[in-house]
């Protein structure tokens, strides 16, 4: 845990300098939020659905061992090989061994946040496996060697011109293409032979049904279906928290997922895998990677309800103006800021502060995770664990002391009134005076309210509450 904390503020500042990218990013995600609102307004039962989803997930998490065992039993009955991985390294080893056993070297895969968590691609590539992402956004990110900047739209921070440049390098297309249709077509043409030549496929899993041994994958491009049905070997990497008890529960979650994510009623493809296809082999790798420990965190276990829709990112005014990459983590935005510290407290100690605590994330969350309250609680935990920078900690300490001593506090105000042209330290704990970099300071006043009151409502003076008695 000796890694340096992510400097979100600096990365965000960098992001803000590029106005065309900033404006597109903000407007695009805000549009997704607006479309989500429109879907909510169509469904009078929206809040009921959220409540239902939340209760199903909380129930499932409280009985997770039983449901996992039930899933395993049913999946095995259906011919699925079930594996368990304590962490990313174990996951990668398992996948690597399965591929080796099949002599597989050409892997196509759909988007999976868990494989990002496990940093699987470099591991497999070292082993001589060529890994190709089949989701367009994810493929763009792979070619650009970047993490996905958003859970659902991985390349949302890029403009058409950026994609044109990336594709020109790898697909030999014209770097000056400005029509996204042409670029999407280039991807389709480039991907087809790779897909048809693949000897193995991977997907993630959005939902896992305990009672039937089914797992569900949702995509818009149909690339998970291609990844799972073209090669005869299908490996699915799934976080252990993805369970629901009953097939019927999927109704609640499928109705919420894409509406919350993109504002479309459903993903174009919602695919249910219950067993291998004819002549094929199917593996499910159930990944813990910190989840079982998180389940024991009283204030934070409900973050495991997350269905990875990204609605909290779309609505987050900070995320929209800083970009997913500024979080320096697999998971960005509000949900990232509450789960990343469970992976590495020091490295991600800054992320719970990348929020104004405005609460919009909590309101859009389809499974009712109290995200902004968890951000608040994380700050307390991080301070208790000494993960706040010393200077800031000291300033808070001094401010706290000062606020308990009215006479000293008044004296401090007086001192700053002498030079009111600069921001008084006691108000904003303004150690490097960053307030004024993009903003004017508040205007000096002739007297504080306290002074005014002493002059105009002095206890005992006529017309004051004291005098009225």
């Amino acid at each position: 845990m000796s890694e340096r904390p992510v400097n979100h503020a600096r990365a965000a500042e960098h992001f803000l300098e590029d106005k065309p990218h900033l404006q597109f990013h903000d407007e695009r995600l805000w549009d997704m939020r607006q479309k989500r609102d429109a879907q909510m307004h169509i469904l009078p039962e929206w809040q009921e659905l959220r409540e239902e989803a939340s209760r199903i997930k909380e129930h499932t998490l409280s009985r997770l061992p039983e449901y996992l065992e039930q899933f395993e039993e049913n999946a095995k009955k259906n011919g699925i090989h079930v594996h368990w991985a304590r962490d990313g390294a174990e996951h990668n080893r398992i996948v690597g061994e399965i591929l080796k056993a099949h002599g597989a070297h050409n892997l196509i895969k759909s988007k999976s946040m868990v494989t990002e968590e496990c940093d699987m691609r470099p591991y497999l590539e070292k082993q001589g496996v060529r890994v190709t992402e089949t989701d367009l956004g994810e493929r763009i990110q792979q070619l650009d060697d970047q993490l996905p900047s958003h859970i659902v739209v991985p390349a949302v921070h890029k403009l058409t011109s950026d994609v044109a440049k990336i594709f020109a390098k790898d697909y030999n297309t014209d770097p000056n293409i400005r029509d996204p249709h042409l670029l999407a077509e280039a991807q389709r043409q480039a991907a087809r032979p790779v897909i048809l030549g693949a000897d193995s496929g991977m997907t993630g899993g959005n939902f896992v049904v305990a009672e039937t041994g089914t797992f569900v994958v949702c995509t818009n491009e149909g690339n998970a279906d291609l990844s799972a049905t073209v090669p005869n070997l299908h490996i699915a990497t799934i976080g252990i928290e993805r369970l629901v008890p009953r097939m019927a529960d999927l109704g609640v979650f499928v109705r919420l997922l894409s509406r919350s994510a993109l504002g479309s009623p459903i993903t174009q493809y919602t695919t249910h895998f219950r067993g291998p296809q004819k002549g094929g082999e199917m593996h499910v790798v159930l990944v813990d990677n910190g989840r079982s420990a998180r389940l024991g965190m009283e204030d934070f276990w409900t973050s495991l309800k997350c269905i990875r829709c990204g609605a909290c990112m779309n609505t987050c005014p900070v995320y929209r103006r800083s970009g997913g990459l500024s979080y320096g983590a697999v998971y960005s935005g509000p949900i990232g800021a509450i789960i990343d510290p469970t992976f590495n407290e020091r490295k991600y100690s800054t992320l719970p502060y990348a929020s104004t605590l405005n609460g919009s994330c909590t309101n859009v969350c389809p499974v009712k995770i109290n995200i902004h309250e968890q951000l608040y609680k994380w700050r307390r935990v991080l301070v208790q664990h000494h993960e706040m920078p010393f200077v800031k900690r000291e300033i808070m300490h001094m401010a706290g002391k000062l606020m308990g001593q009215p006479k000293l506090y008044r004296a401090a105000i007086k001192a700053t009134e002498v030079s009111l042209s600069t921001m008084p330290r006691f108000v904003l704990y303004n150690w490097l005076n960053p307030w004024g970099r993009h903003r004017e300071n508040p205007h000096p006043v002739k007297q504080t309210f306290n002074d005014w009151y002493r002059k105009n409502r002095k206890p005992g003076k006529e017309g004051t509450p004291e005098a009225k008695k």
Binding site: H8, A9, A12, E13, L16, D26, D37, W46, Q47, T315, P317, V318, R321, S322, Y353, A354, T356, L357, N358, G359, S360, T362, N363, H372, W378, R380, L382, V383, M388, K392, R393, M396, H397, G400, M403, G404, Q405, P406, Y409, V427, L428, Y429, P434, W435, G436, R437, H438, R439, E440, P442, V445, Q447, T448, F449, N450, W452, Y453, R454, R457, P465
Partner: protein, 247 residues
């Protein structure tokens, strides 16, 4: 009913007129109001930073100052939110519970407790855009929230609607956060300033001459952003309009 008035530190130091308007308004409404002179801060900056133990002294002083009142009123949503929802750096005695349960933000106090139905002295011949701070909106719930699709309501609008001559405009993103966020405004100053600038532009483009809010902290930040970027818009606390500001 004896009311204790709390004037947050930034209003005390930079926007005394908002504090004065709050006091005068409550007096006009016939209330018995006192301002304890030894007040400082509610503890929110320390609490929000995670340094909760450092909020203890401020919270203890707050209770010493205000325990004797029936109701505690403050022209600030975020301070009210802190006292009501997060004020736990000190032992939760009966006194502390009394203070937390009887603390009100000005708008909710006027709307829910006093149920004021007229401000005959108030006239404001300007076009305004209302800014609800996230504390008043999503914590105190003084208005409906766009994310929830609930039946529209707004306590501040109910009150402002009783002011003669006032006209309203609605920005494109009425309840997006303005980016103040307490210490966020300095630790993440770049994002904070961008959010503030976007907010004031949104109001300006909607045709607002004034941004009116129940929270001076948001406006202190927004004003700084507007002045730096040259966005011609003015700011006024809701207490000043309801008290009959003649601007």
């Amino acid at each position: 009913m004896k009311i204790g008035l709390f004037v947050p530190c930034y209003i005390d130091a930079f926007y005394p007129e908002a504090g004065i308007a709050t006091l005068e308004l409550l007096e006009k409404l016939g209330q018995d109001v006192e301002y304890p002179l030894d007040q400082t801060c509610c503890g929110q900056p320390m609490g929000n930073s995670g340094c909760n133990s450092d909020a203890a002294a401020a919270e203890a002083l707050f209770v010493r100052n205000f325990a004797k009142y029936d109701k505690i009123v403050m022209p600030s949503g975020s301070c009210t939110h802190h006292v009501r929802d997060n004020f736990d750096a000190i032992e939760q005695t009966d006194e502390v519970r009394h203070v937390r349960e009887n603390t009100f933000e000005l708008v909710e106090f006027l709307h829910d407790i006093l149920k004021v139905d007229a401000f005959p002295w108030a006239e404001f011949n300007h076009t305004v855009g209302l800014h609800n701070s996230c504390g008043t909106l999503r914590a105190l719930r003084t208005a409906s929230m766009s994310e929830l699709g609930e039946k529209p309501f707004s306590k501040p609008m109910d009150l402002l609607g009783k002011v003669r001559g006032i006209r309203f405009v609605t920005p494109r993103r009425p309840d997006e956060c303005c980016g103040f966020g307490g210490t966020f405004s300095v630790t993440e100053e770049a994002v904070s300033s961008q959010m503030g600038l976007d907010k004031v532009r949104d109001h300006h483009e909607a045709g607002a001459e004034y941004i009116v809010s129940a929270d001076s902290s948001c406006m202190m930040h927004q004003q700084g952003c507007a002045e730096r970027a040259g966005v011609p818009i003015r700011f006024i606390h809701i207490a000043q309009i309801l008290n009959g500001a003649a601007q």
